[in-house]
């Protein structure tokens, strides 16, 4: 495989600084009320978090602020990107207008309720 020597010399931190945001790991489950989504976004404060719904696409994004001490020299970094972003396509049975979001200790919890029509129900059979 041919490798560009310039690429190899580049500082890995510089190479990813403006590049792809981190994809936060998520848990997603569904019950009769709707869908619950939890995402790990450590270091993101409430004011640096955005949740957008565009059509049927839900996008969560956030920026890490660590409040680093001045003059901090990085020694070792496992998290090299300061942004998180991930998108999900909602179905038409979900009510994007009534999403509830809470952010606590770096964990974002979203509750996406089902539309009234999509909730499970039992149809009464009328005699007659």
């Amino acid at each position: 495989m041919n490798m560009n020597t310039q690429d190899l010399k580049r500082d890995p931190r510089a190479a990813t600084a403006s590049a792809t945001p981190l994809v936060p790991p998520v848990d997603i489950f569904e019950d009769s009320e709707g869908i619950v989504l939890r995402a790990d976004m450590p270091g993101v404060a409430k004011e640096n978090l955005s949740i957008d719904v565009d059509g049927e696409t839900l996008t969560v994004a956030g920026t890490v602020t660590l409040g680093e001490a001045s003059g901090l020299q990085p020694v070792y970094s496992e998290i090299r990107v300061a942004d998180y972003r991930r998108s999900f396509v909602l179905g038409r049975d979900l009510d994007a207008g009534r999403i509830e979001a809470t952010l606590r200790d770096g964990v974002l919890t979203l509750r996406v309720p089902k539309t009234e029509q999509a909730r499970p129900r039992r149809i009464e059979v009328k005699a007659g």
Binding site: V26, D27, I28, F29, L72
Partner: protein
């Protein structure tokens, strides 16, 4: 196409492994010197370490933990960070479907060796927005001293 459905062509998984290796090499993730205690990629919690003139700062990306249950121990210049993160996904049953379970759950332990000038007596830890910040002061460097000749 394949002689049998249960037998993959032998090179398939080897190819994936080779691809992953090449990507890591291009990103500079492989071959760069790392701590002997660093463990595998993706270990929980992820750690960033930096130094200032006054202190060594460790940031552990550990969201959703009870700060009272995170154990930070320093012994002989080795810092150990341990605890447990309970699973938050209920068990799937007839009324509940689980679509993704990517977040870490279970016990964790990460170990870091501290530089020689770390003063383990003054370790301070704070937890904010799911990031544990451990600050370890550095001892003042030995000042140059002139010995008067008598």
């Amino acid at each position: 196409m394949y002689p049998s459905l249960t037998r993959f062509p032998g090179e398939l998984f080897a190819d994936f492994d080779g691809l992953q290796r090449q990507v890591e090499q291009l990103l500079g993730l492989r071959g760069a010197p790392s701590s002997i205690r660093a463990g595998t990629r993706g270990a929980f919690p992820a750690l960033n370490v930096g130094t200032t003139e006054a202190a060594i700062e460790i940031y552990a990306f550990a969201p959703g933990l009870d700060p009272a249950k995170i154990a930070v121990d320093v012994d002989n210049g080795v810092l150990t960070l341990s605890g447990e993160r309970p699973a938050e996904v209920p068990a799937a049953d007839a009324k509940l479907s689980v679509y993704a379970q990517e977040r870490f759950a279970g016990t964790f332990k990460r170990v870091l060796s501290l530089p020689e000038d770390a003063d383990s007596a003054g370790v301070a830890a704070t937890y904010r927005d799911g990031v544990l910040r451990i600050s370890i002061p550095r001892r003042a460097p030995a000042r140059p001293k002139r010995i008067a000749v008598q």
